[in-house]
Assembly symmetry: none
Homo-oligomer: 224 residues x 2
DNA sequence: CAGGGTTCTCAGCCGTCTCTCAGGCCGGGT
DNA sequence: ACCCGGCCTGAGAGACGGCTGAGAACCCTG
């Protein structure tokens, strides 16, 4: 069983390496996101242990990137205990399990074995919010049973909003995740929110995609 | 929460300002090392974002200088990706964390929050006082189970009062932390306290937000 | 190279939020 | 009881954030 550990704290990394080797795993280390991504792509691992806070490329983006490339290797995410990252996001991005630091070594090994038993990760399920459903794999959106035609950009925006439904999402965050920059004019977000509304909001009914003035947008998850 | 951003590229600087403001921070900008140093000395910031490459005085020296003066404000360093400066040097000089450009906005905010949490004695994710609860991340306020709609300014004021609940907070302090100035007419504070009361105080019950004549305001933490 | 679709910029409009002002209220001191 | 100073509040002006229509730039595809 081959394990890749992506962790920038040397101390933690080598402790894991030592421990997992003693359990009989073959362990490789990467100390930043770029190395980690590279190794994960070409290393043929059975499971990857991935810290979130990493130099160069965050664990988030490593995971996202791998899944975008249809690499379904099981991923166990590690996060600092304070919740600046919502772990739900990590799972949405395609991680299979997570642990918050500080964690018990025994628990880590147990979860790793569980992942190995389960095998390769499933493709992410269909996202739902209210009467909207979005299938990332098939690139399809339904309102009720009615298909909705979206352009790629609109689709990416809706997907991001649905992954974070019920949360207030700032234009800057949207820019970063959907446009991949954050220092461009946020007006483009407003424009695309407008496009989406025309396509997904039922006329005469309360908007699913609401503006939170001064803060961003919120996609109502369920009539709320 | 007051943040100082020292960054000479205008575009990046104002993007950060916009983004961080949307997150609820009070943001000041400095465009060179000299201004940055001056503001950091006298501005009473909760955290400083400091670019390394700066006109007049480098970020390095700003950091070094501040630490020499026993100023322990948390500092997050930003560097260009090319390794002209070794980040280890930055940490040696007393920076608390660093990011290399190009960096992810989400990671920046996460690290900022981590620094804030580490610096000030750790604070809970959701603030509570009496039957009020306020979630800074989700930008949501509840009275009991009833959501309360607040404008950005009202939200910032309530957040500050809740962070210091049970303490008497002067109008000057409020002005400084919520309005980012201290030499404006304190009447605006009175006006906004009025707005908040109408939204969060239950009619016919004792006010949660009390006036302490001649001193300021106090948000009762628990029916007291 | 033309045509259709998509993305993005720009400018104007509108509604909300912010802040100022002035007058009234209230509490504390004498 | 009366006055003074601090506080409250309604009204309104101006600033600001967000929305949208128009159209330019940029793809693809044929």
């Amino acid at each position: 069983m081959r394990v890749l550990v992506v962790e920038d704290e040397r101390r933690m990394a080598s402790a894991l390496q030592r421990g997992l080797r003693a359990e009989g795993f073959a362990v490789d280390l990467a100390h930043d996101g770029e190395d980690g991504l590279h190794l994960a792509r070409h290393g043929d691992y059975d499971v990857v242990v991935l810290d979130i806070m990493l130099p160069r490329i965050s664990g988030y983006n490593v995971c996202k990137q791998l899944r975008a490339e249809k690499n379904w290797v099981p991923i166990l995410m590690l996060s600092a205990k304070d919740g600046e990252y919502d772990m739900a996001d990590g799972l949405d991005l395609g991680a299979d399990d997570y642990l918050t630091k500080p964690f018990s070594y025994v628990v880590l090994v147990a979860r790793l074995r569980a992942l190995l038993r389960r095998g390769a990760s499933r493709r992410p399920a269909v996202l739902r919010a209210g009467d909207l459903s979005l299938d990332p794999a098939r690139r399809r959106v339904l309102r009720g049973h009615q298909p909705v035609e979206l352009t790629p950009r609109e689709f990416a925006l809706l997907e991001y909003l649905m992954r974070r439904h019920d949360e207030v999402v700032s234009k800057t965050e949207i820019l970063e995740h959907v446009w991949d920059t954050f220092d461009t004019d946020p007006n483009v977000v407003e424009v695309y929110v407008g496009y989406l509304r025309r396509k997904i909001d039922v006329p005469f009914s309360r908007n699913a995609l609401r503006t939170v003035r001064g803060a961003g947008y919120r996609l109502a998850g369920d009539g709320g």
